[in-house]
């Protein structure tokens, strides 16, 4: 059983971003970059499947600029066997990403593909579902537990009202939610070892995918700022303000 994981390189979750003065986008120069947090969870899940003997091969893919090599090395240091970078300097939107991932899947023939549920930069939450559609596979999105048995996957999903369990025949696509697992920290010796693991580089053209953006970003602006209010001295003042000033209770 072969597992493919997809990782996106994003601005670190702890960085507060700022909007460019000309409204053309978000300031990205010199920001700390990291693996999308949901993708760390996806990587961890794949590594655990291998460690428990359920998977015998793991593979990680990232699409983006050269910097993604660092992100892929992190995944390798966490325990993934091999990496593929689809190098592109142009902006990639989920449909194009899903098409390229589908091309990689057709070539590599994994039984299971694990993605994050959402990239925390564009907050799209689309790619896994799109990939499943393009491949004609079932999808287990927002997974908080994945159990693999012979040719079948049971996925517990985080839904608005609680939890839902689905059974999916393999091959299938899973997207990881926050509670699927707690990703490990990479240890220094593993970082060294990861440097020797195989990392292949290809490009969108080689995959035969049209990456022309379908969505045009016309403008990026700051959200309306909420000005902080006042500090109240005690509960009595709070209740008074809520009753008589804000009139919400």
């Amino acid at each position: 059983m072969k597992v493919l994981v997809c990782v996106k390189r994003v601005v670190d979750a702890n960085v507060k971003i700022s909007v460019k003065a000309d409204g053309s986008g978000v300031e990205r120069a010199n920001l700390k970059m990291a693996m999308n947090p949901f993708d760390e969870i996806a990587v961890e899940e794949a590594v655990r499947l291998q460690e428990s003997g359920k998977a015998d091969e793991t593979l990680v893919v990232s699409l983006g600029d050269k910097g993604c090599q660092e992100t892929l090395r992190t995944a390798l240091a966490m325990g993934i066997d091999r990496a593929i970078l689809v190098e592109s300097d142009t902006e990639l939107q989920p449909l194009a990403v899903a098409k390229m991932l589908a091309a990689v899947v057709r070539r590599e023939q994994p039984d299971l593909v694990i993605l994050g549920k959402q990239a925390i930069d564009d907050d799209n939450n689309q790619t896994g579902q799109m990939l499943a559609a393009l491949l004609g596979w079932g999808q287990g999105t927002f997974a908080s537990q994945v159990t693999l048995s012979k040719n079948q996957l049971e996925v517990i999903r985080e839904i608005d009202g609680g939890l839902e369990t689905l059974a999916l025949p393999l091959p299938a696509v899973v997207t990881a939610d926050l509670r699927l697992n707690e990703p490990r920290y990479v240890k220094l010796p593993n970082i060294m070892k990861a440097k020797k693991k195989r990392l292949d580089v290809t490009c969108p053209d080689a995959l035969g995918v049209d990456i022309q953006p379908r969505l045009e970003i016309l403008k990026v602006e700051e959200p309306p700022v909420r000005s902080g209010g006042v500090k109240v001295a005690d509960v009595a003042e709070l209740v008074d303000k809520l009753r008589n000033e804000a009139r919400v209770i």
Binding site: V11, A13, K16, I17, V19, V26, F38, P94, L95, A98, I120, D121, D122, D123, N124, N125, Q126, G128, Q129, M130, A133, G136, Q139, T141, F142, S144, I159, D160, G161, G162, L163, E164, T165, L166, A167, L168, R179, R214, L215, E216, I217, L218, K219, V220, E222, P223, R226, G228, G229, V230, K231, V232, D234, V235, L238, K241, L242, A246, V248, I249
Partner: protein, 309 residues
């Protein structure tokens, strides 16, 4: 042509966010609503009465009973050709479904739309709501999920839109529903409540969360939580408010023992009035709070609850 809205419903009840999605749809053209499920005639009738709905498409078949994305997406694609825009609420139902629909149609999808600028142009938050992007679609057909808190709910009017029956299509059999464990609660639904009281790591334990619950009950509110409180097991997963949880915008939001990380603010900063109770006067939550109370929550919560007797 016109707009097709995918209704979300559970156990014969229309999910509230569908109504907000109808309001977004009305800005784009004539609204048809697809109600797919099993034994959902009642939902179709409810939708038919909503202000702004001109037609209801009812597809009643076992394959759609559990709202599985794979058969539903195939059905939607089969009827999509008659529509310029396909919309669903940005709930876990809509987010699971619409990207699949978009990919099958070979078009982009726009997530969490908060404003309709024109038929091709929309606004949506990115980077946990720290920036708002205005995005124009070049596709002939637009597939969107709609953030419910950004649009009014369409009211149940005197509307009597015709209900047309649509034939089911073959079930691709790519997934099977096993079970669902829904969080039981007598409180209002988190995303629709007028008042939300949320607790964070500072609340300390599952037992202590009764303080949050008691305040919620006094104000007929819903209970929410930060990710840290959910991860610690104080409350179920579906209580999480934030960038990767639920988006709420109640009249009153009270954050108790929550620091105010950007990922949390992303889910609640459009609330009308925000109250923060935190013992750390430098906690970032105070930067968005209309009323801040710097105090130990274990001291002030009992007093607050008692003073609302």
């Amino acid at each position: 042509m016109g707009v097709l809205i995918i209704a979300e419903h559970h156990n014969g009840q229309l999910a509230g966010a569908t109504r907000n999605t109808v309001s977004a749809g009305v800005q784009l053209g004539e609204v048809s609503v697809l109600v797919a499920g099993e034994g959902c005639r009642g939902v179709a009738d409810e939708v038919a009465a909503l202000e702004g709905v001109t037609r209801v498409l009812l597809c009643d078949a076992g394959a759609y009973a559990e709202g599985l994305a794979e058969p539903l997406a195939d059905l939607i694609v089969a009827i999509a050709k008659d529509h310029t825009h396909l919309l669903a609420p940005a709930t876990t139902f809509g987010k699971n479904l619409m990207p699949r629909v978009a990919a099958l149609l070979d078009v982009a999808q726009l997530s969490e739309v908060i404003e309709v600028v024109d038929a091709d142009t929309f606004k949506r938050p990115i980077y946990a709501g720290n920036a708002i992007a205005t995005v124009r679609s070049r596709d002939t057909r637009k597939v969107l999920t709609v953030r419910a808190t950004a649009f009014e709910a369409a009211v149940a009017g005197s509307g009597t839109a015709p209900v047309e029956v649509v034939e089911a299509i073959a079930d691709p059999g790519l997934s099977r529903f096993v079970s669902r464990a829904l969080t039981e609660s007598d409180r209002p639904e988190l995303t629709a409540a007028r008042v939300v009281i949320s607790g964070g790591r500072g609340v300390g334990s599952k037992e202590n969360f009764t303080l949050v619950e008691q305040l919620a009950d006094k104000l007929n509110g819903a209970v929410g939580a930060s990710r840290a409180a959910v991860d610690a097991g104080f409350v179920p997963n579906d209580y999480q408010v934030g960038q990767t949880g639920k988006i709420v915008a109640p009249e009153l939001y009270v954050a108790v023992g929550i620091s105010g990380a950007i990922q949390h603010l992303a889910g609640m900063k459009d609330s009308k009035v925000i109250v923060a109770i935190n013992k750390d006067e430098d906690a970032p939550i105070f930067e968005v709070a209309d009323y801040g109370l710097v105090a130990d929550l274990f001291e002030v919560m009992p007093i607050l609850i008692a003073s609302l007797e």
